[in-house]
């Protein structure tokens, strides 16, 4: 008798469990390709343990998404208001169907990723394409869609694609409130399974403690909550609020310490430069299609990078050498509040000035300004009232925002760039003094 249920060991979740139908999707070429896509691009050059792949991350997201779905749809956790809002919750066959869809969507949510994940998307893909576009195409038009249709009962590939992408990344289709909520289980800003898994996993493999939080407690307290303005959203019971705060803090610390580590960011920039030149040799941007996508993984990129780093005649030689031999650009500037007070766009304006002085080829600029505190979700209080988390939690109200503004410069030009930066700052200061 063949096995119907399977377990895979996982360092984060102990076991990831799946049935044979999910196992068939795992065995497809698009999914197996994720074994060769690093989750954190070249971060392992800074945190040597961060060599984990999108493969195990996707399995982890499926595991968490299934747990979240089971908790929020459990009969004892839903009241009549919520059932009347979502008719699907009144039918067991619907609950079962959408559970399968959510798990499959979680499994497939990253299959469109390019080599080294986010690093080089804009430069490599045709206009209007993103890794989400590719994900959608792979779910709906590859061996995956055939397998979904053959399942008993069949699964609509479009349902899986919608839940995997969400309304933010698939703007052309209309999402019902139910579909939007299901998508939030995976890609939601506050409690998405994607974020939960990558914070825990990235933290573990990087060897840092920042990404840890009590995800068991958090998931146990997630609920579908009818809010004061008439909608139904995923929120937490009051007892889970601290776990939610811990997740947001984990996100903040992982962003500042790992994801936006300056050396990691400059390696990303050099990687983009390398991949743009290397891939343009192989095909035109407009020719990129699914078969090219399935052919290229991190393996091909790294092999080419090693070879080209020894070939001085290749256009991508400098970019390859900067990564292989750790000769990355040096950090000249990172965000300073005093400069920011003078000019909110200090870093980008200073960068323009430096580029004029030493040339665009010797400067790289990196800027990102997320606000982890600008996340809202409902909280079901013990007295039955519904509160917005932002009203109830001083932690969320005071969640620090952070700005990433890095200017990196090619080593031989460092002193000239520093002088230009200081001159630009002085000119702003002088102008400010005159105006007072």
């Amino acid at each position: 008798m063949s096995k119907q249920f399977h377990e895979i060991r996982d360092p984060i979740h102990v076991f990831v469990r799946m049935d044979s139908r999910e196992r068939e999707i795992v065995d497809t070429a698009p999914f197996q390709r994720l074994r060769h896509i690093h989750q954190l691009a070249l971060t392992y050059l800074v945190y040597p343990g961060a060599t984990h792949r999108r493969f195990e991350h996707s399995l982890g997201v499926m595991e968490l998404a299934g747990r979240i779905y089971d908790v929020i749809t459990a009969d004892e956790n839903i009241n009549d208001d919520v059932k009347n809002h979502f008719q699907e919750l009144k039918h067991n066959d619907q609950i079962t169907y959408w559970r399968r869809v959510v798990r499959l969507a979680a499994l497939c949510h990253d299959i469109g990723h390019l080599p080294f994940s986010h690093a080089a998307e804009k430069e490599l893909l045709p206009e209007g394409w993103t890794h989400e576009t590719i994900t959608r195409n792979l779910i709906m038009n590859s061996e995956i869609s055939s397998l979904l249709e053959c399942q008993k009962p069949p699964i609509k590939a479009k349902d899986v694609a919608k839940i995997a992408l969400g309304p933010k990344e698939w703007k052309e289709v209309e999402f019902s409130d139910w579909e939007a909520v299901l998508s939030e289980i995976i890609v939601g800003d506050a409690f998405g399974a994607d974020r939960m898994d990558y914070l825990l996993r990235d933290s573990y493999h990087a060897g840092v403690a920042y990404g840890r939080f009590d995800h068991h407690r958090l998931i146990d307290t997630l609920r579908l909550i009818k809010t004061n303005d008439g909608g139904v959203r995923i929120g937490v019971e009051e007892g889970g609020l601290q776990s939610a705060e811990a997740l947001l803090l984990a996100r903040y610390f992982m962003y500042t310490q790992v994801y936006f580590h300056p050396v990691r960011r400059i390696y990303d920039k050099h990687l983009i430069d390398f991949m743009t030149k290397w891939i343009n040799e192989k095909y035109e941007k407009s020719e990129y299609d699914i078969s090219i996508h399935l052919d290229i993984t991190d393996i091909e990129v790294l092999a080419a990078m090693r070879e080209i780093s020894k070939n001085k005649n290749h256009p991508a030689h400098d970019d390859a050498r900067r990564i292989m031999q750790r000769e990355h650009f040096r950090i000249l500037y990172s965000h300073q509040p005093a400069d920011f007070q003078l000019d909110p766009d200090f870093a980008s304006n200073a960068c323009k000035s430096i580029v004029e002085k030493i040339g665009e080829e010797n400067v790289r600029f990196d800027s990102y300004h997320p606000n982890p505190g600008h996340v809202s979700f409902p909280v079901l209080m013990r007295d039955g009232l519904v509160e917005e988390a932002t009203n109830d939690s001083s932690v969320i109200q005071n969640m620090p925002a952070f700005k990433v503004d890095f200017i990196f410069v090619n080593e031989p030009h460092f002193d000239a760039a520093k002088r230009e930066l200081d001159a630009y700052r002085q000119s702003l200061q002088d102008s400010s003094d005159q105006n007072q």
């Binding site: 309304p167 933010k168 999402f175 303005d229 008439g230 909608g231 909110p344 009203n391």
Partner: protein, 180 residues
């Protein structure tokens, strides 16, 4: 996301106008005001809208508001009214709004005033119905009202078909008034 400072100035002006018209200027109101400005008044806002929370929603605008908060231009004011925070401009925000919006915001003063006055007087439920109806009529301009009303009810079950029909009529009326 590269900042578009002219648009930032417009968004900040929009927040101030909403508050001037008595709105609590939470994100939902800002979202819907920007939607009406873009679709009805043809104000050049580089924002994509989808049907999501309480009707038409722009993830771009959510990010823009997030960045403005990080930049210290706007801040959230929390309340005990069980709803989300109000958005208000800081002194820094007022200063930079005037710098970035110089010779730009004035082009849209009348439209901003008209839309803010319309939106500011409505609560979230009313806004959701009317903005959703407008979104659907603009997106499916070759469909009849009954189809649109049923479709709205399918997507948002808490908006009953009759309410959706009323909202569609109101939305068409608003478009007609605006164009004339």
């Amino acid at each position: 996301m590269t900042p578009n400072r002219k648009q930032d100035a417009l968004v900040m002006e929009l927040i101030e106008r909403l508050r001037a018209h008595g709105s609590w200027a939470g994100e939902t109101h800002v979202q819907k005001t920007a939607y009406f400005l873009k679709e009805l008044a043809n104000v050049p806002l580089n924002l994509d809208y989808v049907l999501y929370r309480h009707g038409p929603y722009s993830f771009d605008l959510h990010e823009e508001l997030s960045f403005l908060m990080t930049d210290g231009m706007i801040k959230a004011q929390y309340s005990s009214d069980h709803y989300g925070p109000h958005l208000i401009l800081t002194e820094r925000g007022k200063k930079w709004k005037n710098i970035w919006g110089e010779n730009y915001i004035d082009n849209f003063t009348e439209k901003l005033e008209k839309i803010s006055s319309f939106v500011g007087s409505k609560n979230v439920r009313e806004l959701e119905k009317i903005s959703t109806a407008l979104f659907m009529t603009l997106k499916h301009n070759n469909k009849n009202d009954k189809y649109l009303a049923r479709r709205i009810n399918e997507l948002k079950p808490h908006i009953k078909v009759n309410d959706a029909l009323d909202s569609i009529v109101k939305a068409r009326d608003i478009v007609h008034q605006w164009n004339n």
